[in-house]
């Protein structure tokens, strides 16, 4: 039982990562691909935060009477990663809007073989 509790976080992270990966490589619609990419990114964040957690610790904010803190370093890395993720998503969505106005469709198998129209 403790074996499952020790590794359950990591297994769910791998499952979410594979779900996001599957959506990215198999979805035809470009907006759904971007949603899959975001699912993949969030699963990676969850892995880092799970690594930094200390059982019985508290949030890394100094307060009276607390002796054990969770690791603040993964939190900093993931803060940066979340903001960079939303920046990438917004540029990707802007590209999708331009693809729609140039080719008339956002389904990948419909414009994959068309000539360069832009």
């Amino acid at each position: 039982m403790s074996f499952i509790v020790d590794y359950y976080n990591y297994w769910i992270v791998v499952f979410l990562m594979m779900a996001g990966f599957y959506i990215v490589i198999s979805a035809n619609n470009l907006v759904k691909k971007i949603v899959g990419l975001n699912i993949f990114q969030t699963s990676v964040f969850m892995m880092y935060i799970s690594i930094g957690k200390v059982s019985g610790g508290s949030a890394p904010i100094v307060a009276e009477g607390i002796t054990s803190y969770s690791n603040p370093l993964p939190h900093v890395l993931i803060l940066t990663a979340i903001v960079v993720g939303v920046a990438t998503t917004s540029v990707g969505l802007a590209l999708i809007i331009r693809i729609k106005s140039a080719y008339g469709t956002v389904e990948e198998n419909e414009f994959k073989d068309k000539e360069n129209l832009i």
């Binding site: 509790v5 020790d6 590794y7 359950y8 297994w11 769910i12 791998v14 499952f15 979410l16 594979m18 779900a19 996001g20 990966f21 599957y22 959506i23 490589i25 198999s26 035809n28 619609n29 907006v31 949603v35 699912i39 969030t42 964040f45 969850m46 935060i49 799970s50 690594i51 930094g52 957690k53 059982s55 508290s58 949030a59 890394p60 904010i61 100094v62 690791n71 603040p72 370093l73 939190h75 900093v76 993931i78 803060l79 940066t80 979340i82 903001v83 960079v84 993720g85 939303v86 920046a87 990438t88 998503t89 917004s90 540029v91 969505l93 802007a94 999708i96 809007i97 956002v106 389904e107």
Partner: protein, 325 residues
Amino acid sequence: MVEFIDLVLLGMLAITAMRIIFLKDLFAVVMLFGIYSFLSALIFVNLDAVDVAFTEASVGAGISTVLMLGTLALTGRKEKVNSHTAWLPLIVVVVTGAALIYGTLDMPPFGDSNNPVQQHVAPRYIQDSPQEIGLPNMVTSVLASYRAFDTLGETAVVFAAAIGVLSLLGLPKQEKSAIESGLKSHLVLRVVAKLVIPLIILFALYVQFHGDYGPGGGFQAGVIAAAAIILYALVFGLPTAAHVIAPSLLKALAALGVLIYAGTGVASFFLGGDFLDYNVLASDPVAGQHIGIILIELGVGLTVFAAMLCIFYAFAAQAERTNIQ
């Protein structure tokens, strides 16, 4: 007992992700993605990462969902049904997943305080940052002072994303007379929006300056303030919002934020220290750290606010252009 909450929430997350794979209605997919982000924010709170939970809730579930809905308004709501089933992606995914799970069996157990990750750099930050920097929130002191160079790069990435979206889509042209648009005829929405928008801006300012003492900081504050103006634009119309906060002002604010940040670093040069070394900004090193952190958080907040609002204006202007055509 605390692990039980963790197990249940992660299970709900997995169910949500499975549902997203099989849905064809993209509006429902985006709504489920918002739920997914909020569930991850809950899990982050359970794992003691309060700053990360705040950022994920405001950025992931707030701005990302709004931008995706804006894209859906332009590209259409339904995904076309695929005629053939995808066997190759499924095989690739299963093989990769099996290999990764085999790899996780070697990882240290979850939550143990003797893990290698808790041994080297983290104890030094936890013990020394209250004396060297003097702030209660250790995440802010690491983000804004020890690793300030990374945060400068992150601010530059947000600025670059705004430039990228502007070069792809373009901002609304300012007209002399505001066309009547938006939801002005809905009385309840108008009154409640006027009541709630000042409170949201006040909360954004609170989060900006309180990031030293609790979860918060420049990123979350910029996003919350942008959300207030987005609400105003949705209820009163994009031309009215463009009169209130002009697009040219946004372009200047975005650049000004990055300039303040890098300027603080260069000012440390001229005062005798290294780049982004705040100890030399005042006579007392701890006071210098406080001044440096307030300045750069201000720069970050300005850039994130202006960049998010620029991106929203670009999406909304494209929607109006498509409607007019």
